[in-house]
Symmetry: C2
Subunit: 103 residues, 2 copies
DNA sequence: ACTCAAACTCTACATATATCGCTAATGACG
DNA sequence: CGTCATTAGCGATATATGTAGAGTTTGAGT
């Protein structure tokens, strides 16, 4: 391993958005508008987190025909833990060693 | 009525494309590439012809999730007749009165 | 400090359909 | 010929997700 995964500003932003309502299913399109990320950044990011077990993903049928189906995402238990770790750097806590941050 | 419907170059182009294989179901996206028409021109046109009974339309589920469903179109009997009328101006035939062109 | 490779971002493009608002073409009628 | 209503075209934008390839960032090891 030459680099810690899931620590980028963009990833942290998505985790924070998901952590705001940890049990809600969120759509990629809505997350992209909320975080300002473009599809080429966001969707690979969501797929990575999903592959790593931090998100669960589900397809939803479109309400209107002619619109694409929607991919819904939600944090798993591990995802909530990761998001808390990244989103709340525990300001007054014990000095955080760099290696602590990596899973 | 102040103007004859379905006589524009664009409409005739679509009718000609459909007439090439009169019983095949064709997708809007493919027709747009074949005829060079942009979506803002093509889809309203297809919907008009469909509303007027010249086309039958059917939704097809996408092969991959995440892609939009496809709207398939095919000429009806009336559609074939209209397309022949428009596509083959019968060069040596009797002089075509303007009113003949209107349905 | 320097190199190296994995992890990641970003622009552009592709898939498909549809609506909105302004403009242009058409042809009947005066 | 000019006016006027109807019909249609067209660019822009929206809905949603995804891939490709080039480039950047990061941190471990030297």
């Amino acid at each position: 391993m030459t680099r810690a995964p899931n620590i980028s500003r963009q990833t942290v932003g998505v985790l924070a958005a998901l952590l705001a309502q940890p049990q809600a299913w969120r759509y990629g399109y809505d997350l992209s508008k909320e975080t300002g990320l473009k599809s080429g950044t966001l969707y690979p990011l969501l797929m990575r987190l999903s592959d790593q077990g931090y998100l669960e993903a589900e397809w939803r049928q479109p309400l209107q025909p002619g619109r694409p189906a929607r991919h819904a995402y939600r944090l798993t238990g591990a995802g909530v833990a990761l998001a808390r770790q990244r989103a709340e750097p525990t300001p007054g806590a014990a000095p955080l060693q760099p290696s602590t941050v990596r899973p």
